[in-house]
Amino acid sequence: MNSSSIFESYPLAPNTWDEMYAGKDVRSPYQDIYEFLQAIPLEELNKKEDLAKRLFMSQGITFTVYSSGEGIEKIFPFDIIPRIVTATEWDSIENGITQRLKALNLFLKDVYHNQFIIKDGIVPADLIYSCPHYIREMQHVNVPHDIYVHIAGIDLIRDHDGTFYILEDNLRTPSGVSYMIENREITKRIFPDLIPRNNVRPVTQYPNILHKNLVALSPRPTANPTVVLLTPGMYNAAYFEHTTLARLMGVELVEGRDLVVENHHVFMKTTNGLQQVDVIYRRVDDDYLDPLVFNPSSELGVSGILSAYRKGNVAIVNSIGNGVADDKAIYVYVPEMIRYYLNEEPLLKNVPTYHLKNKDESKQVLDNIQKMVVKKTNGSGGYGMLMGNSASDEEIAAYKKEILKDPRQFIAQPVISLSSAPCYINGKVQPRRLDLRPFALCGPSGIEIVPGGLTRVALKEGSLVVNSSQGGGSKDTWVLSS
């Protein structure tokens, strides 16, 4: 068969950075995979795609969707063609995220202690206190090593000239890291030899680094502290990730009902009675963590856990109340934070952002709403956002009404045309838009970022929304060594 046909219909979108093509030429990091894909018969490629699906299914890398009482196993869609990040690109990402995370940790400590940044007029006080994720109970609580964000999943996108921008700081319970690890395992199976040949840096060390950091946080000076991973349970969409991480770190996976608090210490119920818990890597949101303080109807949390944390008898990862730092209205101030706390220029840019609370910015946004993406300041998962370029007039009118009710809750950003990369869809290679979420780990010995991450891709043609709840998939992410 004609081997060039697979790339024949690769329509480059105007004004968009393509990861593989620079005009008509294939960028050099993609050369090897390009040639490999050209040489391989279509049937082989389809077989590989099938194999990938089967591997995900049989290993249980799935989430369950419940409809009419029956559970249906779903796979998070996976595109077999890897996304490549060069060594130079990675260096700038790594430095930029490290700098940003340093500043964000300092900001959280400041907000929950002396509040210099408010007193110096950099961030307005009402913005902090009106944030629903600001937790008053955390005021003046000393957290171990002053680290609030131990795990960050900061989202990056690329504009038309290839510049990386920070889209979001996810500092609460970012998910997706298991796909960084498992996607790589799948690629090893479907494309033998391709990874060593391309000098791809490994990602397997992630659980070890995380475990090392968790152990180091133990408030009890013991050689072998009890570290647990707290999951909302098997009905959670990220349950697979929780079991994977627990297994890879060799720590106990617990649910809220397995834990009790006695005399401000946390214990787990074991077959040999109660055993004290030292460090909790929780994947339960703040709101559900402690029914005594937050949502009183929560059955996912543990009564009294916040008091144990405040007394310093247990370490909780990530810390409580981090949402005040990844709020989309606070996001606007992160470059200022970097200058304020570190006296450095930000290495990675923010996407220009308008806060609808400010009258003049609001007018500018509403007048140009077709060119804007409007989001809720505390939203996530791609829910409740408005893509001005594709929304109908009715949708826009309804959304405007919502905005006027409570402008504090909304920000707007110009539509940025995410970069595109080749995806194998229906027997053809086609460009699709994507972003990148590297996972940064912050421990007492500093910040480490495993070279890789979760590349999310909008599988719908022309779509700019990569969230899995909106038809997004993922790719293996290769960071090349120099």
């Binding site: 249980g60 098997m234 627990a246 297994r247 060799g250 649910e255 077959t271 040999n272």
Partner: protein, 312 residues
């Protein structure tokens, strides 16, 4: 180990053991149904392994395919293979960090096989023995994988206790149904040798029986094998003995109280079996004896629930 985890491992294992018992039972009874159509009926199997009323049983007991469908893929039957495997896998899913990846994948694949439409089609049109065999093989795969990959810790103990407790309960159930109509004190009552042959085959005990007892089928020998023979892996005595062995490994200073309570119950149960024989149980009355054993097996389960699984 977390109490919840111990609970899940115990049940993961029990459900697979039950699945395995049901599948073997179905396979041999199906074979029997092809051999002797006039006398054969599914009544005992349905009585042992389902919650159907007598009238509902009467509706399908002569229709092998209908029974197979009901026992294998009917989601409304809580004891169907598909429901058992689903529950086992749900338990496994909740304790993935305590079983090996191999065991998890094995159960996960088993689950996907029983959920596929293909199974229902093959049950309708293909040779049922081949279909049941392929499912039995999945169960064997689980046992082998567990044996080879699982660490010999607390988790394995709870899995084994679950497995043997379930097996002892099944063997008792099977005897209760089989001997309900039969006067056990009448040693000559065995009239239809082929039905006894299939009965022993359905619990994988036919070959052992032939080797041990040379005088053909006799009720007292059949009871002796299924209740007392310590070399027969499905006998009540063997199963209770194994459950006791694995339970004894859980002894440690931190849970002395709980251990003593449950240990007493298992020990008493085992003694009841060990110091009985066919003569004594015939004298006592077989139904009485089986009822007593049955109850004691269930109270061991309850005691574990209370003292080890924190479900009190």
């Amino acid at each position: 180990m977390l109490s919840r985890v111990a609970d899940s491992l115990f049940w993961m294992s029990r459900y697979i053991e039950r699945t395995e018992g049901i599948l073997r039972m179905l396979k041999i009874n199906y074979a029997s149904s092809q051999d002797n159509t006039s006398e054969f009926g599914w009544n005992p199997v349905l009585k042992t392994f389902s919650f159907l009323e007598e009238s509902q049983i009467a509706k399908i007991e002569k229709d092998s395919r209908a029974v197979l469908r009901f026992m294998v893929i009917d989601k409304d039957n809580p004891n169907s293979v598909v429901n058992m495997v689903t529950k086992s896998r749900e338990n496994a899913r909740a304790v993935q960090d305590h079983i090996t990846k191999e065991v998890w994948q094995c159960l996960n694949e088993f689950y996907h096989i029983v959920c596929e439409d293909k199974l229902s089609k093959s049950l309708k049109s293909e040779d049922p023995v081949s279909v049941l065999d392929s499912l039995i093989r999945q169960g064997m795969l689980y046992y082998g994988t567990t044996e080879i990959t699982m660490s010999r810790g607390e988790g394995m103990c709870f899995m084994s206790i679950g497995r043997y407790l379930e097996r002892a309960i099944q063997s008792t159930d099977i005897l209760q149904v089989k001997f309900k109509e039969l006067p056990a004190d009448d040693a000559e009552s065995v009239t239809d040798p082929s039905s006894w042959k299939y009965f022993l085959m359905s619990i994988s005990g036919y070959e052992l029986y032939l080797k041990n007892y040379r005088s053909g089928f006799e009720v007292k020998n059949i009871l002796d094998q299924i209740i007392f023979n310590i070399n027969f892996p499905r006998s009540v005595h063997y199963s209770v003995y194994q459950a006791q062995r694995y339970f004894e490994r859980l002894k440690n200073e931190r849970n002395r109280d709980s251990y003593d309570k449950v240990n007493f119950m298992i020990g008493k149960l085992r003694s009841n079996i060990k110091f009985s024989n066919v003569e004594s149980i015939v004298q006592e009355g077989l139904p009485n004896f089986l009822d007593k054993i049955h109850q004691e097996l269930f109270s061991v389960g309850d005691a574990l629930n209370q003292h080890y699984f924190a479900n009190s």
